[in-house]
């Protein structure tokens, strides 16, 4: 049984040992604990961050915080102009963009193609957008890699996602055969609802393969509306960005209560996020936890070895302490406190590095990967759980070796006998 005196004396001995320990040795152990902490938090955080990057793309580039779309049995949102005007009038709205969305085909090199050759043609989802509103919503112009962004008044011009172009395409998707020899200025043939139009490629986007922009084509909304054969201004979707602090679920409920829900589907980003993304996110989190748990074991073994070597080399002094009446529990506490010190300093430095630099820096400069722009997802509650795990592993790893040495015969320890 450990008494308060044991703990006080143990703490006193631990502080004195640490104070007079080699700076470099202590630094090295703390560094190992720092790396362990980062391994625990960052590996999982990055794996989850890859998926989070994908889902963030959907939020910022496609759905916004709340998306209003056509009912399953309808092709458009009824009374779209009134709905848009109502949404814009609500508090908490930071941006709104309305889109016409149609399926169609794009064909390139159709003039020079051999009659018997396979057409240079692909299926595509075409978004008819207000270039200015869309840009302020999703920052679309930022992603233009070749050519230029759409301007108000543009006619017969199109922006293409990188998956539609074979030199940027990241693998094949069903129904998608990326276009060859297409550059800004290239003429392509667009077909929507049997209506054909020759348009010029104005720009090509650069986004990761999993971006919702990757397989889309963008044209001015007026042209898409005409090609779709739509005679009114009924759009297919309205994406809404909310101001910071506005609850998307509460906003969705406000829209539903207003009666819009009778004519359109209203979903928050979380509602609209494809199920697969949530599953992949959970899977990556599990993989991250598995990798981290290996790191935790390595850290525990490191502490065990450090404390064991420390205790073995100080066996004589441990014997003397027991000889003069210092309890075994106090001596063991001293080693546990030392282990805790290593873990606490390692985790403390790790926390500073993680939240003071790594998370904000990677958040501002995501790691560009082929499938997404990855960030580090490290929620405080998850990090605290990992710190508790690290501390628990450290306590065990510090206690066991000290217990092994303290249990040895007092006189044998004093005299250095085995």
């Amino acid at each position: 049984m450990v008494s308060p005196v044991d703990i006080r004396v143990g703490f006193f001995l631990a502080v004195r040992q640490l104070r007079r320990a080699s700076f470099w040795t202590t630094g090295l152990i703390v560094f190992v604990m720092l790396l362990t902490f980062l391994n625990l938090v960052v590996v999982t955080g990055m794996l989850v961050g890859i998926v989070q990057g994908i889902s963030d793309q959907y939020r910022t580039q496609d759905t916004g915080d709340v998306i209003v779309s056509a009912l399953d049995e309808k092709d458009f949102i009824e009374n779209s102009p009134q709905v848009i005007a109502f949404i814009k009038s609500l508090p908490g709205v930071a941006g709104v963009t309305a889109r016409y969305v149609a399926n169609g085909t794009l064909e390139a090199n159709y003039l020079s193609r051999d009659v018997n050759a396979k057409p240079n043609k692909t299926g595509v989802v075409i978004s008819g957008i207000d270039a200015v509103a869309e840009n302020s919503f999703s920052d679309l112009s930022k992603y233009v890699h070749e050519g230029a962004y759409l301007s108000p008044g543009d006619y017969d011009e199109v922006l293409l996602g990188p998956q539609l172009i074979d030199r940027y395409s990241f693998g094949q998707f069903p129904g998608l055969t990326p276009l060859r020899n297409v550059y800004p200025g290239t003429k392509v043939r667009l077909v929507i609802n049997g209506n054909t139009r020759e348009v010029i490629v104005k720009g090509i986007l650069s986004v990761p393969a999993n971006s919702p922009l990757a397989m889309r084509a963008f044209m001015p909304s007026e042209e898409v509306r005409m090609l779709m054969g739509r005679t009114d201004y009924a759009v297919n979707e309205i994406a809404i960005l909310l101001t910071r602090g506005t609850d998307p679920s509460a906003f969705r409920d406000v829209l539903k209560r207003s009666g819009i829900g009778a004519n359109a589907k209203i979903r928050t980003f979380d509602d609209a996020m494809p199920n697969g993304i949530a599953d992949v996110k959970n899977t990556f989190a599990l993989i991250g936890d598995a990798i981290s748990s290996v790191g935790l074991v390595v850290a525990a073994i490191t502490i065990f070895i450090v404390i064991f070597i420390n205790a073995v080399t100080r066996r004589k002094f441990i014997g003397i302490l027991k000889g003069i009446g210092i309890s075994g529990a106090a001596i063991e506490s001293a080693y546990v406190f030392q282990s805790l010190f290593y873990a606490a300093i390692g985790a403390g430095v790790g926390l500073l590095f993680l939240y003071g630099f790594l998370v904000p820096y990677v958040g501002a400069h995501p790691i560009v990967l082929p499938i997404s722009n990855a960030i580090i997802v490290a929620p405080w509650n998850g990090t605290l759980i990992r710190i508790v795990l690290l501390v628990a592993a450290t306590i065990v790893a510090g206690y066991l070796p000290s217990r092994m040495i303290v249990r040895k015969n007092t006189l044998n320890s004093i005299l250095g006998r085995n």
């Binding site: 002094f317 000889g323 210092i326």
Partner: protein, 224 residues
């Protein structure tokens, strides 16, 4: 005050059994200064370890103030060593990371004596051994003689019933040995019970009683 009844201590190494103590009976009264002498390997240190509860005899009984120690748990023995005994070892046995004051005060901290009072008692003990000016020095900053005096101050700071000393002058030069023995003499004059193992007759003369051990048996027990 302390009685050893028919103490036997044997060590076994494989099939070989070595009998180091072969039935020692001994008693010391309060305030006595006993020197235990003998040639190297005679069993004098082993005997000291038994009666100071640092080791357990193979057979026999040690009774301290009427308490049979064979019935004590390891924790009770530890408490007994902490509060009733003081130890001075041949190689000083100081903790290298603690200052002279901290080394001396450590057993007092373990007795749950408030830090300020413990430090004051430790300071007094160090003053008694003439190291009142070296409180903040680490063992590595002290000479061998000074380290042994710190060891004595640690042993006496909590006013133990019995002070055990195992070859306290073995690692010291003549001058330092004289200083250490004079401290023992003063402590004895103050009523401290001391049981000291030494192989040097010169220092054994400081004691009032001389016990000689040879081949695991007491061969002489007389006033010095």
């Amino acid at each position: 005050m302390i009685q050893a009844k028919d103490i036997v201590k044997s060590f076994t190494d494989g099939t070989v059994v070595t009998h180091v103590l072969k039935g020692i009976t001994f008693a010391a009264d309060q305030g006595e200064f006993v020197a235990i002498m003998g040639r190297s390997g005679a069993g004098k240190s082993t005997f000291l370890y038994q009666i100071s509860l640092l080791d357990e005899p193979t057979s026999g009984e040690i009774v301290i103030d009427g308490k049979e120690t064979s019935r004590m748990s390891e924790r009770e023995k530890m408490r007994f060593r902490l509060s009733e005994f003081g130890y001075v070892f041949q190689d000083y046995a100081l903790l290298p990371e603690l200052t002279a004051l901290e080394n001396t005060a450590l057993p007092l901290y373990m007795q749950n004596i408030p830090r300020a009072i413990a430090n004051e008692k430790a300071r007094e003990a160090l003053n008694r051994v003439g190291l009142g000016e070296r409180l903040s020095n680490l063992p590595s900053q002290l000479s061998g003689g000074e380290q042994q005096r710190v060891s004595i101050s640690r042993a006496i700071a909590h006013a133990p019933a019995i002070l055990f000393a195992d070859e306290p002058t073995a690692n010291l030069d003549k001058e330092s040995s004289g200083v250490v023995m004079n401290i023992f003499k003063e402590l004895h004059e103050g009523g401290q019970t001391i049981i000291m193992v030494t192989h040097e007759e010169e220092y054994a003369r400081y004691a009032e009683r001389l016990v000689k051990i040879d081949d695991g048996r007491i061969i002489a027990d007389a006033k010095a």
